[in-house]
């Protein structure tokens, strides 16, 4: 944490040396691509038997996810081309653009598992809340930067208001998981931007009230609440009487636990092959890693995520301006929390909420949005001298 050398402003190198392309952090770019490759393998492993049993192509999910990864990489590279500071000034535009999507999905969106979060366009789905994560971080970073981090009570209130609107819309879907991710990102950006302690305390209270209110209102169906609370008591799970959520969690832990140190081997996990874990190619993708690749594979994947987060953290410190730092910090919070929540829920230490594991879970919108996020961070790194 302390060993990072920061370039001093006095020793600014010549212009040619500051050309963005000479400062690409290749490690940062390689990590999501590598994780995505592993993700494709895991999606394949968890879906091939079931697809074959239904007489479909074993590659159905892999092809669709592969396309999302390719689009995501392209989007990441595209985002790197334009100086991120141009976003700094146009954040209200982005913010205003994403709101109608969140409103629109409540009216027109397709519903899956009780949550109305998707636009169905022909064979493709688009989940605006995934994009909203990135946009909200950009917008909040932009807003804080425009006030040089000097957040008095009014500015802080406005920032909270900016963040609160999309969060409430996402909660209405209802998608508690994504709403909490948004809150964590907002909170982290505001902390680093220099918000005052008592303001932050009020913000935490507000967030708790909002989540508590949503959970105790009738926005959520009983089974959705069940998913949240099932991890609290895991002592006795009788598969005959367990609720879906308890069953899901028990099967998830069983699959991971059965992997042992070295795992059952790729395509050899019986719980995976026989589809014992519901939602395995999406939210519970980590159980495939756990069962087939064992502790070695699982901890390697966590190490890759940790490396990705470390690169982002490092760039946050290297960034040329507060906007860059906040952008990085927001993305860092987004990835860290999603990994912790997703992997944590499969192992029974976090409540079950529908959050994908970045770059691993099947799902186009999330994958593309995650690549865009990395592209933005890379952008900050490339232009830290210019």
């Amino acid at each position: 944490m302390v060993g990072v050398a920061l370039p001093s402003a006095a020793a600014r190198p010549p212009a040619s040396a500051t050309a963005p392309l000479r400062h690409v952090d290749w490690g940062l770019l390689a990590l999501p691509v590598g994780i995505s490759a592993l993700g494709l393998l895991m999606v394949y492993s968890s879906t091939r038997t079931r697809l074959a049993g239904q007489g479909l192509s074993e590659l159905y999910y892999v092809q669709r996810q592969g396309a999302a990864v390719v689009i995501g990489i392209a989007a990441m590279l595209a985002v790197m081309l334009v100086d991120y500071r141009r976003l700094r000034d146009m954040f209200p535009l982005l913010y205003v653009a994403v709101l109608p999507m969140l409103v629109g999905v409540l009216a027109l969106g397709a519903t899956r598992k009780g949550t109305q979060a998707w636009f169905q366009i022909g064979p493709l789905q688009f989940q605006p809340s995934e994009l909203a994560k990135v946009v909200l971080v950009v917008a909040l970073a932009g807003y804080c930067h425009s006030h040089r981090g000097d957040l008095d009570v009014w500015r802080f209130a406005i920032a909270i208001g900016l963040a609160g609107l999309p969060i409430v819309l996402v909660l209405r879907q209802p998608d508690l998981g994504t709403a909490i991710v948004l809150m964590i990102c907002v909170g982290t950006v505001l902390v680093v931007a220099g918000a005052r302690g008592r303001h932050l305390a009020v913000m935490v209270l507000l967030a708790v009230t909002l989540v508590g209110g949503a959970v105790s209102s009738d926005v959520f169906a009983d089974y959705q609440i069940d998913r949240l609370t099932s991890f609290l008591d895991q002592s006795t799970v009788d598969t005959r009487t367990a609720s879906d959520a308890e069953y899901n969690l028990a099967q998830s832990k069983t699959a991971i636990g059965a992997g042992g140190l070295t795992g059952a081997g790729l395509f050899e996990g019986t719980q995976t092959k026989l589809s014992y874990v519901p939602e395995q190619h999406t939210d519970f993708i980590f159980t495939v890693v756990g069962e087939e690749l064992g502790f070695l594979g699982g901890s390697l994947l966590l190490a890759l995520f940790a490396a990705l987060v470390w690169r982002i953290w490092r760039i946050a410190l290297l960034a040329a301006d507060l906007f860059g730092t906040l952008l990085c910090v927001g993305m860092l919070a987004m990835f860290t929390f999603q990994v912790f929540e997703n992997v944590g829920m499969t192992m029974g230490i976090m409540p079950i909420t529908g959050i994908p594991l970045p770059f691993m879970s099947y799902g186009g919108s999330a994958t593309i949005a995650s690549f865009i996020a990395v592209g933005l961070v890379s952008n900050v790194h490339m232009r830290r001298f210019s």
Partner: protein, 652 residues
């Protein structure tokens, strides 16, 4: 960047490190720290073992005669893999072919006792006529998922013969599953429920064939079997029973009982009544090996009723309908009776071995003795005059033994407690009051003593007054016990086994029902030898005095069983016998006496003991002795004489 921001970014970094550490720690705990818990859970999830029973072993008599075997019955089964539509179709066409209602077939398919993995059995045996079998085998394609398979069912070539010895089988239930945890039973499996079928379950059952498969969460089999084990057929059990002797024992018991029911009970003074004679038992033991040669219990049942499951209503009838007198009960081992004079064996041994009275000491039998204002009479009030032990046993002088009972009590009360209770000690050594170690379920019986009486009064009564009256060990308790009355209870098997110890010179053995266990090739797997329990102190001269007295009971014209053995070649096969006639209940005589007879033969070189007991049938000499006579005739291939239960007065 401000210092505040820099510090806060660092804090974020610390939080990130903590979160990732938590994940790795939890991952380690689940995958490495939890050992094999989850590996086993995963296996339990997805691996199923489908078992098929192998043919159950047979049960043979000592000469290899088959008592229980298997027979093939054809069954129609339908696979569990059909979808609803084809299943409806198949059930419809099977209903037509077999002429069984669609609803009944559907019910059998849905029977929750059936495994979800094994095919469902829809029709068995008579429901599957040969014609239908041919149709199903030749036009299989019109009946998708349907198979005709052979089932192994129990078959009893000798019908109800030795039903209580053999026992019966049934489909295992949840309780039995729990009891046999670890033995790999599955619901629907056959299990022995009584008799040898239950006692030798582990041998008879064999090792089921098993196929290990993987299943998906819906229970469908996925892919090829992981493992196949062919199993092993059950082992045969060879019994000590002799089918021919068993048959004679059963037939004699039945005919003696039926005749006793025609005879007037003259003890019943309120009017005319015949003996009820509801039940009885016969047992024959080889005195050197402890092997049970015959074991009959009446009333009996048909083990074939249990094939393929007995209805709950019928089972309830067999166990609870009082007019049937509990046919499932094996009275040889589970019936307990007052032994009457047959128990004088214990009194005589005690008197001699503990120095109360020698075999040659004379006693003046005046027909009764009076102790503390209570008079104890000989049966019929007869006085036998001067008797020694031999004579007392031959004519069954109760007074001789009453007087011993009084001496025992006085010794207990005024001199030496242990010596005063010597009769209880001897009874215990002869195996009374405790299970004998036999293979089948046994009752314990009861040998009363002062301590038992003290406790039993508290079981019977709450009122302190009543308790204090009934907890005392009175002279009458010991006097009654000396003639096998009062609170003494024995099983016919215990009685026979005690006489066997007398017969072989004092060795008490565990009685045995089987000789050996054989595999399906006929090779011996295991011999089932009888264990010697203990040696009972028995001076040869004194032992011979008892046997001589018993020989007199059969051969002497004044002997109690002389009539029952009239015409029997006693010169060829001398018999030592003891009759017993035990009263049940003391206040009224509504129930007839228990008729008992115990025989040791040949008396000069004892080989067997036979005991017959008939409930509520009167004198032992009249009902029980003729049964034993016929059993002896069967053992020695003599012509079997007809059972004749005499009417009119008699003595015991």
């Amino acid at each position: 960047m401000t210092d505040t921001s820099r510090i806060r970014v660092s804090i974020v970094g610390v939080v990130v490190v903590a979160l990732f550490s938590t994940l790795v720690g939890r991952l380690w705990f689940l995958q490495v720290g939890s050992g094999t818990v989850y590996v086993e859970a995963a296996r339990e999830n997805s691996v199923r073992v489908v078992q098929t029973e192998t043919p159950r072993g047979r049960i043979l008599d000592r000469n290899g005669e088959v008592l229980v075997e298997n027979r093939i019955a054809w069954a129609v089964t339908v696979s569990r893999d059909l979808d609803e539509e084809s299943l409806d179709g198949v059930i419809g066409s099977l209903s037509e072919l077999l002429a069984i209602d669609v609803d009944i077939l559907r019910e059998r398919y849905d029977d929750p006792r059936g495994s979800r993995l094994a095919p469902a059995v829809l029709a068995v045996e008579a429901e599957v006529p040969d014609r239908a079998r041919v149709v199903l085998q030749e036009q299989g394609e019109s009946y998708p998922g349907v198979s005709v398979v052979p089932l192994n069912l129990r078959h009893y070539p000798h019908s109800t013969l030795a039903a209580h010895v053999l026992g019966y089988v049934g489909e295992i239930n949840e309780d039995e599953m729990a009891e046999h945890k670890g033995d790999d039973y599955v619901l629907g499996d056959t299990i022995g429920r009584a008799g040898v079928e239950a006692a030798y379950e582990a041998d008879l059952r064999g090792v089921p064939q098993s196929v290990t498969v993987e299943v998906d969460p819906a229970g469908n089999v996925v892919g090829d079997p992981l493992e196949k084990a062919p199993g092993e057929p059950g082992h045969d059990v060879v019994l000590t029973i002799d089918e021919q002797v068993q048959r004679v024992a059963e037939e004699s018991l039945v005919s003696a009982i039926l005749q006793a029911r025609e005879v007037q009970n003259t003890d019943y003074e309120a009017g005319f009544a015949t003996f009820a004679a509801p039940a009885g038992a016969v047992v024959v033991i080889d005195v050197d090996t402890g092997g049970v040669v015959a074991m009959a219990s009446f009333p009996t049942y048909d083990p074939a009723e249990f094939i393929g499951g007995i209805s709950e209503a019928r089972y309830q009838e067999l166990t609870e309908d009082e007019s049937l007198f509990q046919p499932l009960l094996n009275r040889v081992t589970q019936g307990t009776y007052a032994p009457g004079s047959t128990f004088k064996l214990v009194t005589a041994l005690t008197a001699m071995e503990y120095g109360y009275r020698g075999p040659d000491d004379w006693f003046n039998d005046t027909g009764s003795i009076t102790v503390e204002e209570t008079t104890y009479n000989n049966a019929g009030g007869r006085a036998y005059g001067s008797v020694d032990l031999r004579r007392a046993l031959t004519v069954s002088s109760d007074a001789y033994f009453f007087e011993l009972g009084r001496q025992f009590w006085r010794t207990w009360r005024f001199e030496d407690e242990a010596r005063g209770l010597a009769m209880q000690t001897v009874a215990g050594q002869l195996g009374f009051g405790a299970p004998s170690g036999f293979e089948l379920v046994e009752a314990e019986g009861r040998i009363p003593d002062p301590e038992w009486k003290h406790d039993f009064a508290r079981v019977l009564y709450d009122d302190p007054q009543k308790i204090s009256e009934n907890e005392i060990w009175y002279p009458g308790d010991q006097i009654n016990m000396s003639v096998g009355q009062g609170d003494v209870l024995v099983t016919p098997l215990q009685l026979a086994n005690a006489y066997a110890a007398l017969a072989n010179g004092g060795v008490l053995r565990e009685p045995r029902l089987s000789v050996e266990v054989r595999d399906s090739d006929g090779d011996t797997v295991r011999r089932t030898r009888s264990k010697r329990i203990r040696r009972v102190a028995m001076d040869p001269y004194r032992r011979q005095a008892i046997i001589d007295g018993m020989v007199g009971a059969v051969a002497d014209p004044s002997g109690t069983a002389y009539g029952a053995f009239a015409g029997f070649p006693l010169g060829l096969i001398p018999i030592a016998g003891k009759t017993g006639t035990a009263q049940i209940g003391t206040s009224d005589d509504t129930k007839g006496d228990t008729s008992l007879f115990a025989a040791v033969f040949p008396a000069n070189a004892p080989k067997y003991v036979a005991v017959a007991v008939v409930q509520e049938a009167g004198f032992g000499s009249r009902v029980a002795a003729p049964i034993v006579r016929r059993v002896i005739e069967a053992l020695y291939d003599l012509p079997i004489s007809p059972v004749v239960v005499p009417h009119g007065e008699a003595s015991d």
